[in-house]
Every structure is written in structure tokens, then in C-alpha cells.
């Protein structure tokens, strides 16, 4: 999750656009972590938007991907706490 406060405090007042750019970079960094899974999710979303898969099917795929992402998060937390 992104917290705008941190960003605004770090940055000199170079204009709001810089702040938003930073948020975007952070978002991308977050995305890169589990990028494969998230890209898959995005693909299913697009296929659903393009009427190529049903809502049930989309939901089933999303549930699976979210479960796997949660596992990765859990593992990262464990690794971080054991260090």
C-alpha cells in the first residue's frame, strides 16, 4: 500500500507531479515483486472486460491468484522476521 504522507515529506516541493510520479514508481516496484502473478491477473481482467471469460471464471482465477499472492506475502514476512 502507498502512503502519501511519507512521499510528501520526503520530497522537496518540486511540484505535485513529481510526487505522483514517485507514487507510480513505488507502485511499479511493488508490482515487480510478484509481477508474474499480477500480470496474469491483469490478463484475466482484460479477458473478462473483453467478454471472453465469464464472471464466475474470472472470479475463480482471481481467487487462486490472490491466494498465491497471499502465500508469497506470508513467506516474505517469515523471511524478514527470521533475519
Amino acid at each position: 500500500m502507498l502512503i502519501i504522507d511519507d512521499l510528501l515529506l520526503w520530497l522537496p516541493a518540486k511540484g505535485i507531479m513529481a510526487v505522483f510520479k514517485k507514487i507510480h514508481e513505488l507502485a511499479e516496484a511493488e508490482l515487480n515483486d510478484d509481477s508474474k502473478l499480477k500480470e496474469q491477473l491483469l490478463k484475466f481482467q482484460t479477458m473478462f472486460e473483453l467478454d471472453q471469460i465469464s464472471e464466475e471464471e474470472y472470479q475463480k482465477q482471481e481467487d487462486e491468484i490472490m491466494a498465491r499472492l497471499a502465500e508469497i506475502q506470508e513467506r516474505k514476512k517469515l523471511e524478514a522476521s527470521s533475519q
Binding site: 500500500m1 502507498l2 502512503i3 502519501i4 504522507d5 510528501l8 515529506l9 516541493a13 511540484g15 505535485i16 507531479m17 510526487v19 505522483f20 510520479k21 507514487i23 507510480h24 507502485a27 508490482l31 499480477k38 500480470e39 491477473l41 491483469l42 490478463k43 481482467q45 482484460t46 479477458m47 473478462f48 472486460e49 473483453l50 467478454d51 471472453q52 474470472y58 472470479q59 482471481e62 490472490m66 499472492l69
Partner: protein
């Protein structure tokens, strides 16, 4: 750690005289405004430690709030999915007040313009491959030369490359035709990520609000016009101008 003073934020608008939108936001919080003298951020209460997974339920809720606001309080500056401020005071002081000029300028810039999204996919990929092979003399020649025997690994790679280049140029050709059809209507466009080889294009357009009917008409004819291509076109909009306001693109796009 429970902390409900946080603000999940959706978009920035000019401060309205009244904001009677009884909307529910991402995570179910009621949507409200944080205002300065001239501007307002549309937000909902949220725990600062809350994590919002990129599920469709959440991203659709995010987008829906912005769209509802847009309908009554256009123009809007949309904010990326999953952004939370620690509290209302920070939004008011650090964002609305300090950045007032930039925000007002960005609002003026997007006024009277709408973003539309047009996506297209091929419904029958084997047929597309057949077509490009038929139409491409180079690939045809290779195919002739190699007929009747197994392809070696390098040869298979060569054919694969030629076919995928031909598919790519077919995409470019269709895209070029679409741009021609929309010439004079479009102020700006962005190409967004293609997911999978089936996709022909994923385009965001910025057009004057007044040209929307013309755009609709042209786009509605595409299915018929590209019947031979066996393509499916999907047109959505107006949507929040994520692609044309210089703010981050939502994680879902």
C-alpha cells in the same frame, strides 16, 4: 494496529458548492470530501495500515467512485488505486494548499475533454496465422521450401520470427486505419500494454466532449468493417482520464 483516521483517496476536484454523493468507497467506507479554499479531495475513511489487494471488487469500487464524481463534478484528476493519506490535515495542507496552482492548472487542462478506451482482440488466432502466411510471400516461400520435411530448430525459429513479425505488422496496419478514421477528433492517444498475442490493440483516446457522438458512431461501425478480420472491439467511456492527466496510472491498467 487499528487506526481509522487515514484517508483513502480517489481524485481531486474543484471545491463544489455541495457534494451530495452518498457513495461507498473501497473497503466500504463512506465517501466524503477534504477541502481547501478552492479544491477538494474525494476520500473515504480507512485504516492507514489497511492493505487493499488488487481484486476486481476493489479496483472497480475505486473507479466507480471517480466515475460517479466525474458525472457531477467534472473535471477530475484521478488518483492511482490504493493510495492512502495518513489523515485529512495532511491532504489539505500538503497537497491541496501547497500544490494549489499545479492542481488548478491540471484541472483547467483536462476541462471539456474525455478519455475513452478502445480495445480489440482477434477471436480466431489460427485463422489470423493462416491469413498472414497466405498474404506474406516471404513466409510462403519458406513454407514451400520446407514442405515435406521436418523443420530444424533454427528453421522453426526463423519461421516463428517471420510469422510473429507479420502478425505485428497486421496489428500496426489495423491501428493505423483506426487512427485515420478518428483523424480530426482525437486530441491525444496512448497505447497501453497488450496482454497476450490475441490482442490487436489497447488504446486510450483523449477527445473533446463535444466530439463524443461522432466518435461513438465511428467506433460502432468497426465490428462490421472488420468482419473479415474476425475481430472483437470493445469501447468503454468516458472513463477517468488516468492516461492524460500527469498522475500515476492506476495499477489495474
Amino acid at each position: 494496529m487499528e487506526n481509522t483516521t487515514g484517508k483513502y483517496i480517489y481524485c481531486v476536484i474543484r471545491k463544489p458548492k455541495s457534494f451530495g454523493l452518498g457513495l461507498c468507497g473501497v473497503g466500504g467506507g463512506k465517501v466524503n470530501l477534504v477541502s481547501s479554499q478552492k479544491l477538494a479531495v474525494v476520500a473515504s475513511d480507512s485504516s492507514v495500515s489497511e492493505d487493499y489487494p488488487i481484486t476486481r471488487e476493489n479496483t472497480v469500487a475505486h473507479q466507480r467512485v471517480i466515475e460517479e464524481v466525474m458525472r457531477v463534478h467534472s473535471p477530475v484528476l484521478p488518483i492511482s488505486f490504493g493510495t492512502v493519506a495518513e489523515n485529512a490535515g495532511i491532504l489539505e495542507e500538503k497537497m491541496l494548499t501547497v500544490k494549489e496552482d499545479e492542481l488548478l492548472e491540471a484541472l483547467a487542462d483536462i476541462e471539456g475533454k474525455v478519455e475513452l478506451n478502445l480495445k480489440s482482440i482477434w477471436l480466431d488466432m489460427p485463422k489470423v496465422f493462416q491469413n498472414v502466411v497466405q498474404e506474406n510471400p516471404e513466409i510462403n516461400r519458406i513454407k514451400q521450401e520446407m514442405s515435406g520435411r521436418m523443420l530444424g530448430r533454427d528453421e522453426a525459429i526463423e519461421v516463428g520470427k517471420a510469422v510473429s513479425a507479420a502478425v505485428e505488422s497486421r496489428r500496426e496496419k489495423i491501428k493505423g486505419e483506426i487512427f485515420d478514421l478518428l483523424k480530426g477528433i482525437v486530441i491525444d492517444h496512448k497505447e497501453t500494454q497488450l496482454l497476450g498475442e490475441q490482442m490487436i490493440f489497447n488504446l486510450a483516446f483523449l477527445i473533446p466532449e463535444s466530439k463524443q457522438k461522432t466518435f461513438d458512431k465511428i467506433v460502432r461501425n468497426l465490428d462490421e468493417q472488420y468482419a473479415k478480420e474476425n475481430a472483437y472491439f470493445k469501447y468503454i467511456g468516458p472513463i477517468p482520464p488516468f492516461n492524460f492527466v500527469r498522475m500515476p496510472i492506476s495499477l489495474t491498467h
